[in-house]
């Protein structure tokens, strides 16, 4: 089994808000190995993006991060100094954001932005950095890369901008890549192209990738392992094939039943739904299962601490051992 690149154990993030403390992420644990793609999936507000920002030490000032262990290879990120984090971030661990329009600086050329991390981290000369930038633009499928270097972000389409973002993240040869909704703002055909590119590069370069998305279709097609988050907690984690084939948590199963699949779901028929709404994560942290008010299998035991079941490398947090079919 290959080396663990990212090890997250018992990660919690509390954010101070005017209405009280928001327990955005609660006791989240997962690992990502070299050459593996882990998808964190969940609906808005489940804490998936905050988790990624916590790993990259990019949380807002009002947030407090605690973890039993937060390690990137042999670096302890939880106790590392700001200087140490700066040396790692953008270098050995990189991030791709959702909005390529806002994540790129409109006042600088693509070339300047691509070269900046390389010049900074690798102490390289401009000629080397330029060569590296051209190489990576080629790798992400952008033709006539040399001319593109002089262009500004507004001169590129959304799909090309996201390719530039990917090239930028790869400039310093990262070992960990975190992609937060990398294809969500794009058109469907472009989304497929970008995901294919990410999957190919991840395999070719043997990167550990964490991909954050709300789209179970994306997850099914790209993930090796999947972590399902709900109300700030991991409710289920496992290999993609097993998690989609035999979901063990009622929330995972509910989510899958909501999605129309051409050729599988009956056209015009009733789609599955999940009743109710997500509980508030502000104030006193609540006890028991956060999903119990929306769950068809809820029982009294759900109000107490929920056991974590393990079967091989499949884990789920539910009072039920397995779901009735």
């Amino acid at each position: 089994m290959s080396e663990t690149v990212l090890d997250v154990q018992g990660l919690s993030v509390d954010i101070a808000t005017p209405r009280g403390t928001l327990h955005a992420v609660r006791d989240v644990s997962f690992q990502v190995r070299r050459g593996e793609t882990l998808c964190i999936v969940g609906e808005s507000g489940c804490g998936k993006s905050i988790t990624s920002l916590a790993i990259m030490s990019l949380l807002p000032q009002t947030a407090r991060r605690t973890a039993r262990r937060l390690a990137f290879l042999d670096e302890d990120l939880a106790s590392a100094s700001g200087r140490r984090i700066n040396a790692l971030r953008g270098n050995r661990m990189a991030m791709i954001f959702q909005e390529p329009m806002t994540a790129l600086n409109p006042a600088y050329t693509i070339g300047d932005q691509l070269m900046e991390p390389y010049l900074h981290h690798k102490k390289a000369g401009r000629a080397d950095a330029r060569e590296r930038a051209i190489e990576l633009l080629g790798k992400v499928g952008i033709a006539s890369a040399a001319e593109r270097l002089g262009q500004y972000p507004h001169q590129l389409s959304g799909g090309l901008r996201q390719r530039v973002m990917i090239a930028m993240a790869l400039m310093c040869g990262p070992e960990l890549l975190i992609a937060d909704e990398p294809s969500t703002a794009l058109d469907v055909t472009i989304q497929a192209q970008i995901l294919r590119l990410l999957a190919d590069l991840q395999q070719e370069l043997g990167i550990a990738m964490v991909l954050i998305t709300h789209d179970l279709g994306v997850v099914a097609r790209i993930a090796h392992r999947v972590t399902v988050m709900y109300a700030g907690e991991v409710v289920e984690e496992g290999a993609a094939e097993r998690l989609f084939g035999a979901p063990r948590h009622p929330y995972t199963r509910g989510l899958l039943s909501c999605i129309p699949i051409p050729g599988r779901t009956e056209r015009g028929g009733q789609l599955g739904t999940i009743r109710g709404v997500v509980p508030s994560l502000i104030g006193e942290p609540f006890q028991g299962c956060g999903f119990r008010d929306r769950c068809d299998f809820a029982r009294e035991a759900c109000q107490r601490t929920v056991p974590l079941h393990e079967s091989g490398d499949h884990r789920w947090r539910c009072v039920l051992d397995g779901l009735p079919t």
Partner: protein, 341 residues
């Protein structure tokens, strides 16, 4: 087949764009010669990527944007003669963003009653009770009546928008990406609601979306748009089983269903995304098309009708036999067996 409820003939809308004070004016053909027929009780899905003109088309069908040329008829009457208010009684919108399409300062019962107020229907008391009744029908109990949109979730707000669209008993509801801003579990609730309401009130929908799986689920007919033009239109079952236009094929291939092991599809599309201000000659899709042939970069393919629907592609020319009458379309999309994908 009866006359279509709503029809568009040669619908075109162009916008004059000026990039800077001294830059030359350029014309953007957002919608370029679209013919559509919407039958009563149908759900016409319109799919295409951003900038293909689907939202401009929706605004024209609603009478919110006048066409540059071409016409729209409702039950055979031109909507320009019909006038704004009578049109609004028959055709109502549901927009994508339930955060910006509802007045944040009003209670939701008052938001839903506004169309009645504008049309001078009923007393304030009757309007309120009608509004509460319809809110209840879309799944918002009376205790929410005086909540403002800010106090509701995204799914609840979209229910308010649907209630507002239905309060006038319109025949047609134009839904422009109604579920795109919602989480999947909420999207499923809204789709179920739209389908229930359609059965209950005999509604006709125009359903605009970039999500093909959603369109496949809800639509009876699908029109695929590319750079302002309809490139293919067919019964949903036919289109999904036998897409003919290479762009439709690429769109269908791009649908990522939650089925692990299938991997990420190769759409076969290049990176040459066209500039809508300077569309390619010939078939607008040819620079990205893997199946292009000789005439594609010079001759615009006409929309050709056949038993499988309409398609504008040189790979599917009109049948050489001069057809006396078009072959009737398959009677019901449900009678066609579905091939599992």
């Amino acid at each position: 087949m009866s006359t279509p409820m709503m029809q568009a003939h040669g619908l075109t809308r162009s916008f004059v764009i000026r990039a800077g004070m001294f830059a030359p004016k350029r014309t953007l053909h957002a919608v370029n010669g679209v013919d559509l027929a919407i039958n009563k009780g149908d759900v016409l899905g319109i799919v295409g990527e951003s900038g293909c003109g689907k939202s401009t088309l929706a605004r024209m069908l609603l009478g919110l944007t006048p066409p540059s040329s071409g016409s729209i008829t409702l039950d055979g009457r031109d909507i320009r003669e019909l006038g704004r208010r009578p049109l609004a009684r028959r055709v109502q919108p549901v927009f994508q963003d339930p955060y910006s399409s509802l007045n944040p300062r009003r209670g939701i019962a008052s938001i839903v009653a506004l169309p009645l107020e504008v049309h001078g229907i009923g007393t304030p008391r009757e309007r309120r009770s009608k509004s509460i009744e319809i809110l209840e029908r879309v799944g918002l109990p009376p205790r929410y009546a005086d909540n403002t949109p800010g106090q509701l979730s995204g799914g609840q707000r979209q229910r308010v928008a649907i209630a507002r669209a239905l309060v006038m008993n319109p025949g047609i509801v134009i839904c422009d990406e109604p579920t795109s801003a919602l989480d999947v579990s909420v999207q499923a609730q809204i789709l179920n609601l739209l389908l229930d309401l359609r059965r209950e009130f005999g509604l006709t929908y125009v359903f605009i979306s970039h999500n093909l799986a959603v369109v496949e689920h809800i639509a009876t007919q699908v029109a695929v748009m590319y750079l302002g033009q309809v490139v293919e239109q067919a019964d949903t079952a036919v289109l999904f089983r036998q897409p003919r236009h290479p762009y439709t094929q690429a769109l269908l291939a791009s649908v990522l269903t939650p089925e692990p092991g299938l991997g990420i599809p190769d759409t076969g599309l290049g990176l040459a995304f066209p500039d809508p201000l300077n569309p390619p000659a010939g078939c607008a899709f040819h620079p990205r098309c893997a199946q292009r042939i000789a005439p594609c970069n010079t001759i615009v393919p006409p929309l050709v009708e056949s038993p499988l629907g309409k398609v504008a592609c040189h790979l599917h020319p009109a049948a050489p036999v001069p057809a006396a009458a078009p072959t009737p379309a398959p009677s019901s999309p449900l009678s066609l067996p579905d091939t599992p994908q």
